[in-house]
Structures are given as C-alpha cells and as structure tokens.
Amino acid sequence: MVLNGMNNIVVIAKDLIKKYGTRIAVAGISFTVSRGEIFGLIGPNGAGKTTTLRMTATLIKPDNGEIFIKNINALKDPVNARKYIGYLPEEAEVYPRLTGYEHLLFYAKLRKPDHVDEAVEFGVKLSGLGKRIYDKAGDYSKGMKRRLLLAIALMTRPDLAILDEPTSGLDVYASVRVRNLIREYVRETGSSVILSSHNMLEVEYLCDRIAFISRGKIVSVGYPKEILEKYSASNLEEAFVKAVEEAGYKYEGL
C-alpha cells in the first residue's frame, strides 16, 4: 500500500477480519482516522468494537487485513506503532498497591523517557486527582481510577488515543468530566482519538465522525449530520437502531 500524500491520515485499517475459533468477531472492517479527528465506533454488545480497537492497538493480530499507524505497518512492526498510541481498555484496572503518581511515573518512563517530568505533570493535571494522586490507587473510587487510567493513556500526548468505552461504569458527573477532558485534550494537542461507546449522547458530543458496527461489520459510517439525514432520524439513537436493523440485527432479549 502506497501512503504518500496521506500525511494527514493517522490510522488506516483495511479489511480487518478476526476469528476466535469458529466465531467471527470482526468480518472485514475498514476505516481511516485523520489527524485531530475523534472517530467513534458504535455498536451493540458483541458487535466487534473491542476486538477492532485491540487490533488497532496492536494487541491482537487480525487473521486478515492491514493496519497502518502513522504510515507504520502495525502488523509488521507493532512495537514501533505503539509509540504513537495511547490506549485505554474498557475494563482496565489500576495496581492497588501503587499510588496514582507512581502509575503516571511508571508509564511516562516507558512511553516518553526523555520527557518524564513533563508527561507526569500533564498526567496529574489530566487526572484531576489533586493531592489524592499520592494515595494508593486501590483506595480510589471507580471514577477516580478511570480518570487516572485515562490520564495514563493521554499524558504523553500520543498521536492516536484509542479509548474503549472511556466512561464505562461511571456516574453522570464523572462521565461529563471525562468527556470534557477528552475534548479539551484533542483541542489542545491536535491528536486523533478512536473511541467506542454505547452512549449516544457521548458520541454526539464527542465524535467528529462515527461508524455503526453490527455483527463484525461497519453498517454505516460518516459525519453525524450525514447519518441522521441518511436514516431520516431525529437523533443518533434512532439512526443507530435503523442502521443495525437494516443490517439484519435482531435483539433477542425482551
């Protein structure tokens, strides 16, 4: 693949396929993310969002397809590609015996060894934990832990932040704080973000461009306004339901 003239593109994912045994988790997903863009992956549980994000973060290898991060072939050189990525997993946890500050220090030393102090300082600011940053992370509330983990993912100002359900399990107040933090971060750094979410309000507030995923495939992608027009919907929630149902998704619950 020739990438000349695509300097503004941070991520190119092409025809990604991933199977776990006989189950197909991702069935041919392609997308691009531009510099300074927040790209949202939206889909029901088990649609393949986390697998797509993990493949993009080079944690798992696709069975087929290609991923380029800042023109680096992420499948061939994952360690180099990870230098440009900050990653927040959906169900990440902290080390309970380490303080918040020690968490920041540890990750900063490994991600930005030449700018440790600067990264840690930014991390402390991003976390908003104040003096609690020196407490053991095991004593933090769920919201505080999530903010710390988000700060770890973003403190080195990576070119690409991959955030899997960044407000997962947080209360309304903490969710608002995290969303504001992401938005401010992108505005301040010009970094790109790929995030997954169930929360349409969050997606509408944060994302420049979105992709609806169902059964391991992108069923619709575009700017929120375009998608609303395409499905003649008044909000993204309605558009999402129409998009996934058009793609053959049937909810099997009550």
């Binding site: 973060a57 944690l59 798992i60 360690v79 490994l110």
Partner: protein, 420 residues
Amino acid sequence: MKGYNFKVLLWKELLDLSRDYKTLATSLLLPLIFFPLLGFLSLALVTQQPVNIAIVDMDRVELQNRLLNLTFSSTDLVDKLIDGLKKYGFNVYIANDSDVVYNSSIDLVIIIPKGFTFNLSSLNSTAHVEIYRRANVQACARAEAIARSIINGYSNAISKEKVEAIIRVTGLNATSTAILYPISTKLQLVTIGGQEVSAEVELKGLFARVLVLALSVVITPATSFIIDGIIGERERKTIEMILSLPLPVSLIIYSKLVAATMLGLLTAIADALGFVSYVVLTTMALGGSLSLPIDPILLLLHSIVAFFTILVTICIALPFITRTRGIRSASNIASGIAIIGTIVFFTGFIVDYSRLPTTIKSVLYIIPYTHSILSIQYYVVGYTFQALIHLMVLVILSFVLLLFSTKMLNTEKMLLAPPT
C-alpha cells in the same frame, strides 16, 4: 534502551512486591518463624509427655566377691537409674511388686530380679534386668533407650572393675582396656585430596543436604508469584495497558521472571536459615550441642544455585501458565512442577548424587534440578571444578529455557483467556 526499560519494569514489579505484605510474610517471615517454632514446639510437647517409670528391685542384697575383693549391690544400679532418668524429666517410682506391669498408668517397668546381685558378683554367670515397655508410645521408647544406656554404662564399669581385680589378684602383666577392648578403630576424615579434616566437615555435608532440601520449598512461592504476575494481571485487568506499551512482550515477562526469582532467592535463604535454626535449636534443647560450620562460599553457591533453579522452574512453567484459563488451572500446573522438584530435591537430601553410577547420572542430567543438587554436593566433597561445571550447565539450561519460553509467548493468549 532495553536496559533502561527493563529497569523501569523491574522497579514497578519490586515496588508492588515490597508492598505485598501477605506474600512477603508467607514467603520470608513464615519460614524464619515457623521452623524454629516447630523445633521449640515439638521439644516442648516431648517434655510435656509424662512418662511414668517404675523400678522394682526384687533382689535388694549386697554381696561380696572375696576372691576379687569387690562388693556388689542391686541398689547401686537402682540409684543410677533413678538419678539418670530423673535428669530427663521422667517420673520415677520405686515399686515392690512386679505386678506393677499391669498398672496402666506406668509406661516403663524395670525389674531387677532375685539373684541379680549374685550373678553380677560371680565370674561365670550374667545378671539380667527385665524391661517392660508400653508399645507404640514414642516417649516410652526414648525412656527405654536412656535406661538401656544407663544399664550398659553400669555393666561396662562393673566389667572394668572385675578385670582390674583379676589382674591384681593374678599378677598378670595386663590392662583392663587391652582385655576388654583388644581391637580399637581409628577414624580419620580426609578430603578428596587426602588432607585430614575435622568432623565439622561432616556437619558441612549435613548442612549442604539441608540446603538442597530447602530448594524444594522455594519453587512454589516463585511460581505462584509468576502466575500472579501474568494470569493474576489478566484477571485483575491490569495487563492490557502494560501490553499496549511500546515494548517487546518478552521484556515485560523478563522483569516478572527476575522479580519472581528474587523473591524465590530470598525465600531460599529464609528457608535455609529456618531449617538450620530448627536443627540447632532442637539439638540444643534435647541436651546436645551442634555448631554448624557456616561456609560463606557454600552459602554463595547455594544462593546462585537457588536463583537459577527458580529461574529454570519458572521457564518450564511459563509456556503452560500463559496458555491457561485462570489462576486455578495455572496453579495446578505449577503444583505439578513443584511436586517433581520436591521429589528430586528430597532424593538429593538422602542420596549422594555424586556417587551414583554414570549411567543413572546421565539419565538424571535431563532434569535441570539434578545439576542444582550436583553443584552443591560436589562442592561439599571437594570437587570444586565439577561443582562449577554443573552450575554452568544449570545457568546455560536456564537461559536456553528462558529464550525458548519467551519465544513461545503470545500477547493474544496472555490477554485473552483461552476458550473452554
């Protein structure tokens, strides 16, 4: 850069470990407290077991052998038995009747039958003492052994007196020692090179065996720690962020291996100290004295051997551990390896591997732990070169297995539990 990253990863592992008080207490403090406590406790319980001994002197006479000009009395032996047995804390009673054997509260009965003094004083018959011991009572067996040694001591003293009297009466040019002990043996301990050494060297050998046995108990905490470091991180959901760092996964694993091995090494030292204090304290408490010669080179060798033994164990376990579903199945694998290790090290405690035939040794060489044992055993018997060779083999095996196990690492398998 790799060195810097490794240091940072190791810093985090050790910082986390240093605050894991439960692991530290169970791995380090427990053997230091547990083994001496075991020694004290077993001794305290032994001395708390009351043993009731009855002595029945049915003879109670004093006779003189006019020819030898010696006087004999059953009371002499009774007095010696009372004094000797009371010293060890046994309850000693004097009974008048041999029916005391049927008294259930009496554990040991020593009967001096009628005619004992007569036989003792004669030159052509043997005096007998009857001992009745309650079966299957350990404390009674100890009391019986002590009573026998008192009787034997008394018997030897009487022999000597009689022989000296015969020499005196007959005017023979003889000594009691030459008659009683016509053959004597002399033992001199020597090294492989033939140099004379003291009995302390034997103790060094005992100490080395203890060190070999101590290796068996360090495998488990080290493998548990590595299981916790990999499977535990997956279950606690901390591994994904670590794996997303711009580092080769092998470097992350190396830091965990070294931290686990360091913990194992400290455990090995704590266990060895615990074992030694157990042996010394129990021996001292039982009235003996034992000063173990501490050879700093042997301790250093043991530390190095322990380090690489743990590393080898973890490297063997690693490919299996990273492919298991959870801590329980990983622990089962680790237990299997620990059992093999325990069996091998226990045989190293009772068998001189260095003396085994080459054919058997050649087969055993396949097991890395054989080199751990041989390295220590060869050093103790003076074969320093062979000890170094086996240490080198252990080191090489460790690195080969380390490379092999990290080559088999798979980020995806570490991140996602395999399907059932």
